[in-house]
Symmetry: C2
Subunit: 231 residues, 2 copies
């Protein structure tokens, strides 16, 4: 391949901001920062080895993403998550992912089936991993395939952003192994329904998957912070 030359020309203009953004997002999602924890600029600069400008811009971006909140006269903190918010997020995912799966049954191309099957197998393969991040990534890839095949890139962006906000919950639900087996069976149902082009069943399977995850998550979140956030 002459990709080498092309790569050189189209060389990744990955800016420092992008790297820092990615790193911080990952750090928050991975739970490296606790929710509510303050994100003090200058220490972050030291840790990351970049200037304040970069950190500040990154924080702005993550604020817009909902991963970071700004406390007036105090600065940025890692966004906290109430059960009410989490429930709303699961509700939106229910709509978007259900719709994507249904659309996918109609518009899927001829080589989509094998790809989806491979993705499902990848999920199953990571099931026994000790590293929960791998399973999370495999699951993400599975859904990404569905959204992209349905041509719903914007909805996928929204879902990904929402997933970032409930990443801690997702990690917790994954840690619950008993749920995983049911999660796996749900995903198999989704896979089968899509390949047999059964829109209604596909949507139902997705909704079952998410409802199940939400139910598991609720237990954790209620135990975590039982107090109700006022309006």
């Amino acid at each position: 391949m002459s990709v080498t030359q092309l790569k050189k020309i189209t060389k990744a203009p990955q800016t420092l901001r992008d790297i820092v953004q990615h790193r911080m997002r990952e750090a928050i999602i991975a739970g490296h920062f606790a929710p509510g924890e303050r994100l003090v600029e200058r220490p972050l600069c030291d840790q990351l080895g970049v200037s304040r400008t970069v950190v500040r811009e990154t924080i702005r971006y993550l604020e817009a993403e909902g991963l970071v909140e700004i406390v007036p006269n105090q600065g940025p903190i890692v966004a906290t998550l109430s059960w009410d918010q989490a429930k709303q997020i699961y509700d939106v995912r229910l709509l978007l992912e259900g719709s994507a799966a249904a659309a996918c049954t109609v518009v899927q191309g001829r080589n989509f089936g094998p790809k989806l099957t491979r993705a499902l197998n990848a999920v199953e393969a990571t099931m026994d991993d000790t590293e929960w991040a791998d399973l999370l990534q495999a699951t993400t890839k599975f859904y990404e395939l569905i959204f992209l095949e349905a041509g719903q890139t914007i909805a996928w962006d929204i879902v990904q952003r929402l997933n970032g906000r409930i990443s801690r919950l997702r990690a917790l639900t994954i840690a619950a192994r008993d749920r995983e087996t049911s999660g796996m069976s749900h995903m198999r149902s989704i896979h089968d329904a899509i390949l047999s082009r059964d829109a209604a069943t596909a949507r139902a399977a997705v909704e079952a998957h998410i409802t199940d995850a939400a139910k598991t998550a609720r237990g954790f979140l209620n135990a975590d912070q039982p107090e109700v956030k006022d309006a």
Copy 2:
């Protein structure tokens, strides 16, 4: 009310960033900047009378919102909108707004009816205004009531953000007066269905409203930029 005292204590910690952010967002949404137009930092600093830092952070935020795109090695431009993207946005709105209206039929409080009626009347009142922004705002308020009553604040955030990205289209569709009357009748249907707690009809009315708007928008966008954006 002792609001005065409270106001003083809780005095708006509105930072410069917030102001600039708001101003620029409004400017883009109002069409003051053309899509694809470059947002050169230093001139913006001069125009707004602020430093580059503020402008840059604002641009990061708007980038995350999807209002601004970054062209590698060139800098930020006002986001462009292809018909495919617009269609996706209308599709997501279809799901979220339909769902909100349906939920609203169930959970609405006793004083919600009058409020919704007032909002509907406000829309009708602005119908003859020359200023399209007023009608847009009244329409927004109408839907906001529905989302908040349904307790779907996150979905409302998403819809608002999406609306920002298709603001030009919304302005154009509003300029088409013939659509407005039908839009008004659609909103009246939504209003009536919600108040009579008829979920299915409410959802259908919302979907009719959006589908209609999308159809009108399509004409404008196809005329605007017929070329297809490559993947």
